[in-house]
């Protein structure tokens, strides 16, 4: 076990969150092993099937934010397990519809494997902890500009991607 392994495992979880929130489906697929499997509320199947399922569902929302905190992993050779706490805020239009305006508390319970390309998720359990109804209370931002600041986007024009290209080329 090395610290570098643990760091890479942690960053892989964070890259998953970024990919989901930006609708970067190739980025989502990339965190799973070739034979990766995912178990989510409403879904259980291969990583390929999971991505297809997300491609159908995520566009019905105006946005998602998967904020994660606590992350603990244990590495044993080429196998690892990791637990990550998170909350996922989902918002959509109309803003008073509970099915698309809610926050869920979850834990990612992950079996990681070391592959030639790096640590990948072999099997993920998205464990449900609680769900909170945010209908009528959560709003997506509208309007960019000096007085409003920037909004997050779900495409290649998101502010982080633009900054990365400008700074790192």
């Amino acid at each position: 076990m090395s610290d570098a392994d643990k760091r890479e495992i942690h960053e892989t979880v964070l890259r998953y969150c970024r990919a989901v929130d930006r609708l970067d489906y190739a980025g989502i697929r990339a965190v799973y092993a070739d034979d990766g499997v995912d178990h989510h509320t409403g879904f259980s199947g291969t990583a390929d099937e999971f991505v297809a399922w997300l491609e159908k569902g995520l566009p019905h929302l105006d946005g998602t934010m998967h904020l994660v905190g606590n992350h603990l992993s244990e590495v044993d050779g080429d196998q690892a397990v990791a637990e990550t706490y998170g909350t996922a805020v989902h918002w959509g239009t109309p803003a008073d519809l509970p099915a698309i305006n809610f926050t869920s508390g979850f834990r990612y319970v992950d079996h990681f494997v070391r592959t030639p390309a790096g640590w990948r998720i072999r099997e993920r359990f998205a464990v449900r902890e609680w769900t909170r109804n945010d209908a009528g209370r959560i709003t997506a931002p509208t309007g960019d500009g000096p007085e409003n600041g920037l909004r997050g986007r779900r495409d290649a024009d998101d502010p982080f991607e633009l900054l990365r290209q400008r700074v790192l080329g």
Copy 2:
């Protein structure tokens, strides 16, 4: 001061959160020094007394989730201080009862000491920042299965524990 010290201190805070949320009372006790002390809302006393207090109170809830983020520590020889930001979601039945359905924002302000067994909490202040009433809006998950995914549990059959045993033996 070494990075390894800081990492261990951080992981100790995370292990506390895991232990509380899983009702692992021995795990809670283990993060404190033998002479550890805790100050919480509604409690102030030794680590042993704190665990006894939790054993009485936590079962009245259906679940808790202590999600922590910001963590900064400073190490000086065998002493350290650490500050950790977190939110604790509490949910229970009936779901419209405010006393058991609320979220609190807190900071753990910790005095850590190096012991032969590793870094331990000598004194913890759970500093209150805000409390939000979630009555009638938060729901615990019900029903496992392929269409629902897995729920978190507060015992040895929690999905993370089962995965750890399967993968790491």
Copy 3:
């Protein structure tokens, strides 16, 4: 790129959060480069101007808590970009006034530069994701003492500062 760079960049983001929440204006200024720039909802200008803007606005609230999670950075020589997910809880009196009782979901999109004094923010975009109205549901804590525990403070008597002085001198 080194792990030490990434760690310092991460800690700089955390020190910003601490400084804002404690009304430590010098601490806020210190995370920016001399020629630092900030873009926030309702503000765009130099770091000096940003601090002046906060000095006017923050005292109207009873408190803020900037809890951050996901943090990913990329370093290239003396330049870096970092993305940090967070939620900012704002509370005030009266508790039913939406303008001062809300939670925002954001990402800090930061351009960091290495300076002689360490990594500093050259340009920050506080990207808006969502806003949630907490009017009438969030309460600030009142009353310290053994039965209540400690409240957070926005001055030099905050419990973390007192502990740090006691332990580290």
